[in-house]
């Protein structure tokens, strides 16, 4: 191959060909490099050193560098960040352990193991809850198919993007790391569902907060529970069923 090529093949033959190629849509001779404005003769004259003009003008342009991590710019609202497992207004978990998120995941990053709710330990409305919930952030590609798959809006994506850590083990997030913190007025699970409701009522948005019975149940079984204070506050939403 080398002997057949010889020198000069990488360079175009001189003089450069100017014949119009087949069906070119443009007048190639008057090819206008900057279609936005017609250049004046002066601009044309200084074109070879126009780059210096760009450099000088840059001195007076605002700086675009972002000062991360000292100043954090907020992401777009739709940004796919760290996942979160949400709760119903009374504090019960929304995850029912159906594993749809794990099915939808193209990267096999989610592991779910469901457990049965019992009268003594009711974590989510209905029969089952997510007993083990792990997301492996070394595998996750943040495509968002899991949140689209979740039938109860238990799994959502927040805008939190600072996920780096030092070991592989720490990158597998467990349920306690993913579960949303209790908002003021919520009662930490497990506790029974609002009396007289079915799980359907929860999904229809009929439950607005913990009831006195639920507070009493938690007080009886876990008197030290820190969420009792705000949940038992009579000023709070003692809604129960709407």
């Amino acid at each position: 191959m080398a002997d057949s090529t010889g020198k000069g093949r990488g360079r175009s033959p001189e003089p450069r060909t100017t014949k119009t190629a087949m069906g070119a849509t443009h007048d190639v001779q008057n090819f206008d490099v900057d279609s936005d404005e017609d250049k004046s003769a002066l601009e044309e004259f200084f074109a070879p050193v126009a780059g210096f003009g760009v450099t000088m003008a840059s001195l007076f342009r605002p700086v675009v560098t972002e000062q991360y991590p000292f100043e954090k710019k907020p992401t777009a609202p739709r940004y796919h960040g760290r996942h979160q497992l949400n709760r119903h207004p009374d504090g019960l978990e929304k995850c029912i352990g159906c594993e749809l998120c794990a099915w939808a995941c193209p990267a096999d990053a989610i592991y779910v193991e469901a457990g049965n709710n019992t009268p003594d330990a009711q974590y989510a409305p209905g029969e089952r809850y997510g007993k083990v919930y792990q997301i492996n952030y070394l595998r996750c590609i943040f495509c968002g198919l899991c949140i689209e798959a979740c039938p109860t809006r238990a799994l959502t994506m927040t805008n939190d993007y600072e996920l780096a850590d030092t070991t592989r083990e720490k990158m597998i997030f467990e349920k306690d790391q993913l579960l949303a913190p209790l908002r003021s007025g919520m009662l930490s699970a497990p506790h029974p569902m609002v009396e007289g409701t079915t799980d359907g009522d929860y999904y229809r948005g009929a439950v607005t907060g913990p009831t006195a019975e639920q507070v009493d149940w938690v007080r009886e079984h876990r008197p030290e529970d820190p969420s009792l204070e705000s949940a038992a506050d009579p000023g709070r939403a003692q809604g129960g069923k709407r």
């Binding site: 080398a2 090529t5 020198k7 000069g8 093949r9 990488g10 360079r11 175009s12 450069r16 060909t17 100017t18 014949k19 119009t20 190629a21 087949m22 070119a24 849509t25 443009h26 190639v28 490099v33 900057d34 279609s35 936005d36 074109a47 070879p48 126009a50 780059g51 760009v54 675009v64 777009a76 609202p77 739709r78 940004y79 796919h80 960040g81 979160q84 159906c98 749809l100 099915w103 193209p106 990267a107 590609i141 943040f142 495509c143 968002g144 198919l145 949140i147 689209e148 798959a149 979740c150 039938p151 109860t152 809006r153 959502t156 994506m157 927040t158 359907g200 999904y203 229809r204 948005g205």
Partner: protein, 454 residues
């Protein structure tokens, strides 16, 4: 220890043991003086140099095998495969919807083109091409054209950086950042979006998106103008690029090159014009060509194409806003057997399925719930057959070949990535030039190894 040896060891251009008795030096861990002294003593030996795969100017993990005579390259071959990730094979084990998240990672500089190409192919197999809502097509066109600008900016910016013009890179990346911000607000991700889905797009534009894009466009145009001023008439830039990487039309066609390489040789070949898809025949834009067929011509063409793309974006925005005034439009096919069931919404708890959707599937309709489960776990079935879909990628022709056996996953998915075919022109462009010209020529090809190796 680097000792001259004539034993059979793997060489750069030939298979192991095929040295033809040539003298060989290994330039690792030895005494360089010894090697050079020996090479001086045998001046008739040919010298084969490995450039890459870690060389910063070979665009990622491209390995160049160069046979040199002084500074002149007499033979150039590319070595690829260092970024092979088995994407096509993996797609055979995922549903048709999940496939989007894989193919978007091929040419990661232009992810939306793989997504659109793949989805158009799936839609063709499903025979629902005409059912895709107009709004979804408009959004696809807008995203593709913005992505084309971003891809060309990378080509020009990194190309300039390789010549030592760091400012080219910083300005190009700044302009690209604006485009990535647009992508982030629409898709939620800056790259690898998985936003285009078979049957439409994942979710409609957020409120005020068209206005936001309009506000970014002048800024992007301004930065493109800065890049033009920095490069196009700069004597050093002209000296480095003009006449370098020359590939005439016959060579480009024989080697299957497309995109700016083919158009720089004078052929106005653009699939958006010759085989329109996504309604490109209804937009007013031109296909710029050049006849110099060198690296400089390709730079000029990329600048021109970016401006044409922004022209298309403006036209799409007009149509999207005209639609907005008429109320809400679907972005997914009406056929519930194919349309992904999700309706995403952003709330105080983050982004997730809308509460309306939850209320319907969990609170009232058992059928809707079963359907949701079936679509997520199993996916939809695609009739048996095969399809080939081509679209105009920023780098050339992107071809998607899908084979279905009637199941919920592709039997085979193959992508004809433009970077792969364009890379075959490397030898023609580089041989006869100097080593410095190789860098320029490779930059003008603009290969992205994620796409080349897949």
């Amino acid at each position: 220890m680097s000792t001259p040896s004539s034993t059979s060891r793997p060489t750069a251009t030939g298979p192991a043991g095929d040295t033809g008795g040539a003298r060989e030096y290994t330039a690792t861990g030895g005494d360089w003086d010894e090697i050079s002294a020996d090479a001086m003593a045998n001046p008739d030996e040919r010298i084969v140099v490995n450039m890459g795969p870690q060389h910063p100017s070979t665009h990622g993990v491209l390995r160049l095998v160069l046979e040199i005579e002084g500074e002149t390259v007499t033979e150039a071959r590319g070595g690829i495969g260092f970024l092979h990730t088995g994407i096509e094979k993996n797609m055979e084990y995922r549903t048709w919807t999940q496939g989007v998240t894989y193919c978007t990672r091929m040419d990661y500089v232009a992810p939306l083109f793989q997504e659109v190409g793949y989805c158009l192919a799936v839609e063709k197999l499903l025979d629902i091409t005409d059912d895709v809502p107009e709004r979804a097509t408009l959004i696809r066109v807008m995203m593709m054209e913005l992505n084309r600008v971003a891809s060309h900016l990378i080509a020009l910016g990194t190309g300039g950086n390789e010549l030592g013009a760091t400012t080219m890179m910083t300005i190009a990346f700044t302009a690209r950042e604006d485009i990535l911000k647009i992508f982030e607000s629409i898709t939620g991700l800056r790259m690898n979006h998985a936003y285009i889905r078979p049957g439409g797009v994942a979710v409609d534009l957020p409120p005020g998106a068209t206005q936001m894009v309009r506000e970014y466009i002048p800024q992007i145009r301004d930065r493109i103008g800065q890049l033009e001023k920095l490069s196009l008439k700069n004597p050093i830039f002209l000296g480095r690029l003009q006449g370098v990487g020359y590939l005439p039309l016959a060579g480009a066609m024989a080697l299957g090159a497309a995109g700016p390489i083919l158009r720089s040789a004078g052929l106005p070949f653009d699939l958006r014009k010759s085989q329109p898809y996504c309604g490109y025949e209804t937009y007013d834009f031109e296909v710029p060509t050049h006849t110099d067929a060198d690296s400089y011509a390709r730079v000029v063409l990329r600048f021109k194409e970016m401006r044409e793309s922004l022209k298309i974006v403006q036209q799409v925005l007009d149509r999207l806003e005209a639609q907005d005034r008429k109320g809400k439009h679907p972005v997914m096919v009406a056929d519930k057997r194919i349309a992904w069931p999700a309706q995403l919404s952003v709330g105080s708890d983050g982004q997730g399925n809308s509460l309306d959707h939850i209320r319907q599937i969990m609170g009232s309709s058992m059928e809707a719930l079963i359907h949701h489960f079936k679509l997520v776990t199993e996916g939809f079935r695609v009739p048996a057959g095969q399809v080939y879909q081509q679209i105009e990628h920023p780098k050339g022709v992107l071809g998607v070949h899908l084979v279905s056996d009637g199941g919920t996953r592709p039997y085979r998915a193959h992508f004809r990535d433009p970077s792969f075919n364009n890379l075959q022109t490397l030898g023609m462009m580089c041989e006869g030039g100097t080593i410095a010209d190789v860098v320029v020529a490779v930059a003008s090809i603009d290969p992205v190894m994620g796409g080349v190796d897949r």
